[in-house]
Symmetry: C2
Subunit: 699 residues, 2 copies
């Protein structure tokens, strides 16, 4: 992959001497950025550009070429690539658009390109992309003509969209953040975003990585790479709704994904997910600093109003204002300032005009053990203070190093001075109070996420009779059907998930007998492969209090099913005791196309439907993960015991979740599983699955 960013010689293919030719922009960019290798221009009409010859084909180039950059009409790309192959070029960036994103014809062209690449052992970025930049060696192959608008730094970017990538660069330039490498992957036909990420996490010049993705090609791999990375990874994943799907498909041929799964996967692998340009800027800036390891903030402000806004924002971000020792406050008051406003945290130092003293106060504040980070809200009142302000900033930069704690530095000053600071100091400058605290929230969140990914997970050994389950699933798949209710319950039981006592009854008489054995009241549920929503057609009859109720319910059920599904093959009913007490939850799992198996848990009924209360994790999970899923539910208090109600047996549900996760890991043939409901009882009284449904993959 190194050849993409560090080629010694590059052929730009598709260059002509016409003024509106985009290929010549690339040549000009390489010159402007001072590429430290050889650039060959190639184009069928020949001629010259930027004082150099345009070769008619790569074949005419007298030397070896490391990297081909292709920007010819789509139709001839396969031929051009083949010429490259014959020339012995192993790496390419195909910028041309008009492939899969444009329909069937484009897809055929892509197949042809892939074939050529395979035949000649070529690896390529694109097609339908804007190219790459490496600030270290002056490689700059995007087709728009670019000035040197951004400084060199340690942030590298992988973007699916060239336009969004360029916007990101503009934002970085504006914030004074330096770029290391940039690559736009477009349709990512051969080299994937994941491949480039894998390269960048080891790349020496890169300290922070940003990805813009409209689709995730291999979620598991993305997670695995991210977990290995010691560098922060920020991802803006768009294409999350209904409206974006159409345009994303026509843009970079992207498929959408389950947004909750994406969030969970990122969280689990230490990826910082961002949702707009503001959190992009905040994230890049704050992650340059030491992490916010705890929740205790000190706010030092030159304006009382900023202090109030900061205090509100702290509360919304879940931070505490560290209690500053009275001796410390007294010292500040005595030594540093006239007493106009009484000191507390936030430290409102409005009437203190000696900026040198601010640095001393920040120093002393950072030194306090109970302080995890400082928000410094500066107001550079007028131009006469700019020099002192800059000195103050330098002092603060040193203090951050010294104490290895973050100082989020906000300044209210005229635009010119703010811009000067951003461009001349390698330190984050914030200009919005609320965003300053949100940035620290990002830092703390990232720190926790990171800690969590480093935790060693304890997967349980489950002594399930896997052969039995395999056989059951195999039989069903052979019959081209999903698991029956009774089978699903049996699988759960084999994996150690407590299930309600269930007896299969083929006839009404057997149902009566079973009910007598189980004891009243009972529930009966139809067993039939073709009926998916069994409660809608009377396939679930609850609270049957005696023998005759069982008969009535059985008959009623069969009549209604016969009406609704005349062709359904009914295999009987499951008779279960009625279970009461505790509260109903839903456990589930599915095979996500990008991330593989995931498990979920939610409060039952309207909480799922109206309040969307569901926690999701990519498997495998361990017990602690499962507990965190439950605790993370907004309605968690209902489980933990609120208003004197008893705490429920969270441990048991967590255990069931872990077992479900193992089941999905073991059997990728299970496409979807729903345990709805599982009833969780009071603490130490366990839980019990009352109903289970498993859908299998086909083929």
């Amino acid at each position: 992959m190194r050849e993409i960013f560090y080629p010694r010689s590059v052929a730009i293919i598709g260059v002509s001497s016409k003024p509106d030719n985009l290929g010549r922009n690339i040549v000009a960019n390489m010159v402007e950025y001072g590429f430290d290798g050889i650039v060959y221009a190639v184009g069928p009409s020949g001629g010259m550009v930027e004082t150099r010859r345009i070769y008619r084909t790569v074949d005419d180039i007298p030397d070896h070429v490391d990297l081909a950059v292709i920007l010819t009409p789509a139709k001839i790309v396969p031929v051009v690539l083949e010429e490259c192959g014959r020339k012995g070029i192993k790496w390419a960036i195909i910028e041309t658009a008009g492939f899969r994103e444009y329909g069937a014809e484009g897809r055929k062209l892509e197949d042809a390109i892939l074939q050529v690449a395979e035949d000649y052992g070529i690896r390529f970025v694109g097609p339908n992309c804007i190219g790459a930049i490496n600030m270290e060696n002056g490689l700059c192959v995007p087709f728009p003509r670019l000035s040197k608008f951004i400084k060199t730094g340690d942030v590298s970017i992988i973007t699916q969209s060239g336009g969004v990538g360029m916007s990101a660069l503009n934002i970085m330039a504006n914030e004074g953040l330096g770029l290391n490498k940039f690559v736009s992957v477009g349709n990512a036909l051969n080299i994937k975003a994941e491949d480039l990420l894998e390269f960048l996490i080891e790349d020496e010049g890169t300290e922070l990585i940003f990805l813009y993705l409209e689709t995730i090609q291999d979620g598991r791999r993305l997670m695995e790479i991210a977990k290995r990375s010691s560098k922060p990874i920020l991802v803006f994943k768009s294409n999350i709704g209904q409206l974006g799907q159409v345009i994303a498909a026509s843009h970079t041929a992207s498929l959408s994904s389950d947004n909750k799964v994406v969030s969970a996967a990122f969280e689990q692998s230490g990826i910082l997910r961002i949702h707009d340009a503001t959190s992009f800027g905040n994230g890049l800036k704050i992650l340059k600093l030491p992490p916010m390891r705890g929740k205790n903030l000190a706010v030092v402000s030159r304006s009382g109003g900023h202090a109030v806004i900061a205090a509100d924002a702290c509360e919304l971000s879940g931070f505490q204002l560290a209690e500053l020792p009275q001796t410390f406050l007294d010292e500040i008051e005595n030594h540093f300032r006239a007493s106009v406003i009484r000191l507390t945290n936030p430290l409102d130092l409005g009437d203190l005009f000696d900026l040198d003293v601010y640095a001393q106060i920040v120093d002393q504040t950072l030194r306090l053990e109970g302080v995890d980070g400082v928000v410094f809200l500066h107001t550079s009142i007028s131009a006469t203070e700019h020099d002192a302000s800059r000195n103050l900033l330098e002092r603060i930069m040193q203090l951050v190093q010294k104490y290895d704690k973050p100082v989020a530095y906000y300044i209210s000053a005229d635009a010119r001075e703010v811009n000067y600071l951003k461009q001349h100091y390698n330190f984050p400058i914030f200009t919005q109070v609320v965003e300053t605290i949100r940035a620290l929230e990002i830092s703390h969140h990232y720190y926790c996420e990171e800690q969590e990914t480093r935790r060693s997970k304890k997967r349980p050994k489950i002594s399930a009779d896997k052969d039995f389950v395999r056989k059951m699933i195999g039989n069903a798949r052979a019959e081209n059907r999903d698991l029956l209710l009774s089978e699903s319950m049996a699988v759960l039981q084999h994996y150690g998930i407590p299930t309600v006592q269930s007896m299969v009854a083929g006839t009404v008489e057997q149902a009566q007998d079973a009910a007598d054995v189980i004891g009243y009241p009972v529930a009966i549920k139809v067993i039939a492969e073709d009926i998916s929503h069994k409660s809608d057609v009377g396939g679930v009859q609850l609270n049957l209090r005696n023998n005759s109720s069982v008969v009535e319910a059985f008959d009623d059920m069969m009549t209604r099913i016969d009406k609704a599904y005349p062709k359904a093959k009914v295999d009987g009913v499951l008779v279960q005791p009625m279970v009461t007490g505790g509260r109903e939850l839903i456990l589930g799992g599915k095979q996500d196309p990008q991330f593989g198996p995931v498990v979920l848990v939610g409060l039952g009924g309207i909480f799922v439907e109206i309040f969307d209360e569901v926690a999701v994790r990519v498997t495998p999970i361990d017990h602690q993960d499962a507990i965190e899923m439950l605790e993370g539910l907004r309605g968690a208090q209902m489980l933990m015991g609120v208003r004197g109600q008893k705490r429920l047996d969270i441990e048991a549900v967590a255990d069931a979740l872990v077992r479900l996760s193992e089941l999905l890991q073991d059997f990728p043939e299970i496409k979807e599983v729903d345990i709805n409901p599982i009833r969780v009882f009071h603490e130490k009284e366990g839980c019990m699955a009352l109903d289970g449904r498993m859908v299998l993959t086909t083929g």
Copy 2:
């Protein structure tokens, strides 16, 4: 109030010739901003400053003075103000800090100032403020030395904090937004933010008003003024949490307020509430444009990636992507561009390089009836395009005028060009895609809010026996107690809120008799003024199925109450039938210290506790308001009938809410009322208050 902004002569009091004197900054600012009146410098040490004499007292000034700006030590402010009074000065701005915000001594000083002001008929801004600016006449009296960093425009600012006000100006300057007037109110001892707002809504040069408030002094008046205003009003209300309260009190002596009430009040009076600098900037920018009247957006983009992000953001903001007629799309495709990406909405025009054509497309899009606004996502790829881009912007400005619809204009370009556009065009420039759509969301929200405030409300005539209620409340207050349960229920009934049949029983025998009359099962509830949480001590006994249960429950209740509240005076019990069916809601109301009476409604039980599901409105409300409160609850679907459940009688609850609102309007002596629960039945079957509690104001 005009004299504050348009004085003909100003005395700056507290000036000395020392280099670090703040008063001399004010004199210098007046010169720099070209104040078109006469400035007198006043200070006890005399001397000269900025080529002018410093008078020792205002008395020495040979002419009449319209406005005094005072920046002397706090202790002598009363004396100085008295000198002003004797001189005949009627208006002042007191910038000095160190008053109420600093404790008891400061409060005394404030009292002294108020007395002087009353004696001499002086009205003043401050104390503890940064002063005022009027860009129209060059009045500029803040004490920091200011350059002319912001252009003249139509936005005016009222701020409680000088520092936050200055930050707002920096943000505006950076965004190219022009200022008209600026005033910092500080402790707002005499002239309130509300007074200044009243002035500005009539002020000719002001088109948009921004307020930063840490406290709201007279919420009702603020609402009333806002409703009268034809100019958009944006308010950043801070001091909303626990953490901010302490610092706000020490900063501008501000009291905190109920954040939900503030939001409701703003919503009801057409005030746009903002929460950070981003929404401040977005709001000011977007409200310069015609409003987004509907929900149908068209997105025109030069980058597919931006289009995807925009589509996601549209969905999150509740917009729809307008369906563009196929003939329209075909026309664009045929006339304007090669076919690389198929067109839809968002219109991704990536390969179209003639910017003139973009203007034509925007023109034709705005013309479509189904389009309420356009998001234009521009990428100015390189410097060579800047001229064409500027022309495009001018065309778009004309189109906005022509069609009276908003075009939210985003541009990704290098910082210098973006800054040029912001400073040279009186048109909002956005640089973040998601924020561009959020801005349109603000526009639409403001438009709807505005429409709503213009709606004529229909308050019902309620034929309550007010004398009866007045007497009951009067008696209770005379006895220095709140209303008893039985009395509260009676009041509700008098106001036409359906209440459950309730019989008062003084003895266990009477309770038995009452139960027999009502019919079983019954509930009994203790009537006792001293017991606030009656269910916690067995004071509510439900579901009593027969005569002997009533006896047991009565005895149990009395035993437990006697234990918990040995001194409580028990007036008996209320016997009620058990009511089932439907769903429980909570209705309530209270006297808010800033906004007067408010009503609230929420789903009962855990929904209030865990999901914080409560809707609030400042009274009076009408039926439509009440319906909107109910529909706005996140759990509203539970009332509207979800999953085949029957719809509940929303109309009846709304009616009860309106009646409760009228009750609170009629009787400000009611400090708090709780109807918990009120049971709402199926559609057309009404609702019924099962319990009511009313707390009265004292004195």
